[in-house]
């Protein structure tokens, strides 16, 4: 029986004829109606399981849930009306920003837009920043190729962009001794794709990580694994793009795309209608919406949420290295099962978990998810406790049913490039995706005109000085130049007023308390901004010449105070 007849039978079995599909132009489209969101997702995953290289579009309706509508920016103006950039990049996450930066290597005009009021507001600031070695991906997957290539690129690109990147390696612990016998075989397999690994005995592992739980029988070390701060990386890409002439427009959302004869003619936003030569779709969980509007709908995104826990730096003593346990991986969900990551800033990140959701912008955390994650990872490092936790966050990954990246030219629309379905290992892959997608976009323009390389492109970004990590001599010199670098505002993370002021005046400046936090870490520590929050607010108010009740925490309208005391509220 062919895959498709199997699928047909399986769908009838599970959904009693309520779900059907048809295949056309290489796309398998599901339709029908189901009761629960999970049923809708299961049907899509089933279709991916039984297909023969077809793209999956899931048009099933769900009675009790639908994908939540995109939250729109409040601004309505004509700022961008009539603009004709060579390339319009939609979405300023890590991929969109990497694409924009790579595009600046060519003689093209680039407009990068995002509906939020800062870059890296969705998945790019809501993940663990792992630079994966690329071992747990299937051969032939797009994401494996990009993972391996991106990993190799990291040292150079992080150095150029002035972002902390540490190739600290990763230990994967195994609770099952029998698996040891299989290791030499997989080791060779990994070596073939360029991923070195090393066997670590139980006693050696305990020496490396004295607090390790008793379950671990052996481990594998992957020296090419690394860590980076994903939003720092995104901000750095965005700044380097802007420094090289790209234009960034925030609070700019696409509301419609006009296309004709396989070509995008115009893109309608809340800030005017644009006429780009090429459109690059890096819209994360909204990639499918863009694809639909552009008449190029050949994949579906099923959002998957996950929560990570951040511990105090003091707890970092409890886990000296990055580890994950094979035993804790839940095979039923598409996730690496999480682990314990040591961040570039020496906090520990624990998690994430994984749940299917129709709520694309719901970043709530729940008590259950946090306590379950702690319990699960506590098996690996038993000394971790809830009192080590300083905060937690939720991210929503933009998964396709094929569980692979979609990095390709439009199927029906020829001036469109997709970088969609980017979930883990998106951070790892971003440098490679940026390179390729930029080339793809440039090649489309080359059909019309000659595109030269941009000779004045400068790949180097000078980062904001990090006083807590500077040598005393260097810091002393900096303070003598600008005394604000000697005034510590955030005590937990030792962040100076100079750094905060710098964050407010970069080429992609912070415009909120959280924006400052993501750039210079003020408020990231154990008091979570209890001390420095109001002071950062005051610095922003003074710097932007606005009253304190117009300073926002993160999103527009998230005012930190309501009025002057005794004033008119």
């Amino acid at each position: 029986m062919s895959g498709l007849s199997k699928l047909s039978r399986k769908l009838d079995e599970l959904y009693s004829g309520n779900v059907t599909f048809f295949v056309s132009e290489g796309i398998l489209t599901l339709s029908g109606q189901v009761e629960k969101w999970d049923d809708l997702v299961s049907a899509g995953l089933l279709a991916a399981k039984y297909n023969r290289g077809l793209c999956i579009v899931n048009n099933i309706a769900c009675k009790n849930a639908a994908l939540t509508a995109m939250k729109m920016p409040l601004i309505q103006d004509a700022l961008l009306e009539g603009e004709k950039p060579d390339v319009l990049v939609i979405g300023a996450g890590i991929v969109g920003c990497a694409v924009a930066r790579e595009l600046m290597r060519y003689d093209v005009s680039v407009l990068l837009i995002d509906k939020e009021n800062d870059v890296a507001m969705h998945a790019s600031s809501r993940n663990d920043g792992a630079v994966h070695p690329g071992i747990d991906l299937k051969k032939g997957q797009v994401k494996q190729t990009y993972n391996l290539r991106g990993n190799r690129m990291y040292d150079k690109v992080a150095r150029e962009l002035g972002v902390d990147f540490k190739r600290i390696g990763q230990y994967v612990c195994f609770n099952n001794s029998l698996l040891k016998t299989v290791y030499p075989i997989v080791k060779r397999k990994w070596e073939k794709v360029g991923v070195p690994s090393k066997f670590v005995s139980r006693s050696k592992m305990r020496e490396i990580e004295p607090t390790l739980g008793r379950n671990t029988k052996w481990a594998v070390f992957f020296p090419t694994a690394g860590i980076v701060c994903p939003y720092q990386m995104t901000i750095a890409y965005a700044e380097n793009a802007v420094d090289n002439g790209a234009k960034l427009s925030l609070e700019t959302a696409v509301v419609d795309i006009l296309h004709e004869n396989g070509k995008i003619k115009a893109v309608v936003t809340n800030r005017g209608t644009l006429y780009p030569k090429v459109v690059v779709n890096c819209a994360g969980v909204f990639c499918e919406d863009i694809a639909k509007m552009a008449g190029d709908h050949f994949y579906s995104i099923h959002p998957r949420r996950g929560t990570n826990i951040i511990t105090d730096k003091k707890a970092a003593r409890k886990s000296l290295v990055t580890i994950s346990s094979y035993g804790t991986v839940n095979k039923k969900v598409h996730s690496k099962g999480g682990g314990i990551m040591r961040t570039v800033d020496d906090n520990l990140l624990i998690g994430p978990d994984a749940f299917e959701t129709n709520e694309r912008e719901n970043f709530e955390t729940t008590r259950d998810s946090v306590s379950q994650t702690l319990l699960r990872q506590g098996e690996t490092v038993p000394s971790l406790s809830s009192s080590d936790v300083i905060t937690y966050f939720t991210g929503v990954r933009a998964a396709t049913y094929e569980e692979d990246f979609v990095i390709t030219n439009g199927k029906f629309i020829h001036n469109l490039v997709h970088a969609a379905g980017i979930q883990s290992p998106g951070v790892t892959a971003a440098p490679a995706i940026g390179e390729d997608v930029a080339k793809m976009a440039v090649n489309i323009i080359r059909n019309e005109r000659i595109v030269k390389e941009n000779e004045s492109f400068n790949p180097v970004r000078i980062p904001i000085p990090k006083t807590s990590e500077m040598s005393e001599e260097a810091l002393d010199g900096l303070i003598k130049e600008d005394p604000n670098y000697g005034v510590i505002i955030c005590r937990c993370e030792q962040v100076s007023k100079g750094e905060i002021l710098a964050a407010l005046s970069r080429s992609v400046p912070a415009n909120s308390v959280d924006g400052v936090k993501r750039r210079v870490r003020a408020g990231m520590g154990r008091c979570q901004g209890g001390f420095c929050g109001p002071q950062v607010g005051k610095i922003i108010a003074e710097n932007k010449h606005i009253p304190l009740n117009k300073v926002i925490k993160s999103t527009s309208e998230s005012y930190i105070t309501v009025s002057e005391t005794k004033g008119e509220g």
Binding site: K71, P534, S554
Partner: protein, 421 residues
Amino acid sequence: MQIKNFDVLVIGGGPAGLAAAISAEKNNASVLLLEREERLGGILKQCIHDGFGVVRFGKKMAGCEYAQVFINELRQTPVVAEVLSFVTKIEKTSEGGFYVTYSSKDGIQKVTANAIVLSTGCRERTAKQVQIHGTRPSGVLTAGAAQYYTNILGYLPGKNCVILGSGDIGLIMARRLTLEGATVLGVYEAKSTPSGLRRNISQCLDDFDIPLYCSKTVTRAFGSSRLTGVEVCSVDEQMNPIEETKEYIPCDTLILSVGLIPENEIAEGLGVEIDKRTKGPITDNHQMTSVNGVFVCGNAWQVSDLADYVSLSGERAGKYAAFYGGKKEATVCVDYEGSFLYMVPQKVTIDTVCEPTAFYFRSNKEMDKSKFTLKIDQKEVYTKIYSSLRPPEMQKIEIDFSKYSITPSTKIAFTLSEVIK
């Protein structure tokens, strides 16, 4: 460059540090006081309510007024007080002193000191540490931050406020925000009894008809930009929320007064031993920690209910830091048994003949008539009867050990128990 040397370096210019610096100077020490903020006074700068100074000055003063007395006194002394100065590194010198690096507007500074007094205060527990979930909107802040916005910056943090935790700052802020025209919908306390002082419950809540709900906690925040509401649940005896009791309360502000944690990052860096119960360093009655020459006082030592007590521990720390001659005095550990939440100091020096030792304790529950006993070598030598005890109210008791012969092998034990009627 000539590195300046001081007998005593005081870190933190709040009420504890001010008292320590003045007292060290009185005892003939050269003193440097470092404060990371722009002005001296610590958290008292923003405490414009009264109730300070009753024990020490016999009158009610505002917090900033109380601090100013010490600031004025300090200015009469040769103590060097530097503001906007942040200690970044402390190393021990081979001579038994300390080599200290700090940053200021003038650059990286270095000094040496014979002894160090840590008066770094405490920080507030945060929303995440009390398991508040949901979204992360603006309008969720600690009581101290709310107080800073209101009293220092002159901005109202919110209009319709829910307060979680009946700690003193939370109660003070309930009144303060009401006076500024905000509505305080209620104070919620997860414990079955309030955490703040009785006088604050009466003066800050009762007088303003602000309801107090015990055994209830906030579990979830709503709103994607500004807070739009909170979910409140009753809790069971293990303090776990009971799902069926949840209710939604619309509000734009959630203020947290859910406990204070002594700030001891510098102490921990120096290897100072921390008491799990107080979360502050273990000390002897001279306020010296387990590390020679490192003294601690104020809320960095133990979270006090009254600033007056903070000043007392500061004075002691300053004095003994000035006396510190590089050697550790012999100490005896003190045992605490029964219904103590904690008691400090945890050690007593052998030669405490010169002055009575002040002990501070809190009971671990609300107690009626209770008996406090001191046993020396298992012999009951002192008892005191309390008509009632509550955990929020710290008790001070002075013991004159000169009456007893204390040797390194003496067993000193305190017990606290309710008197059964």
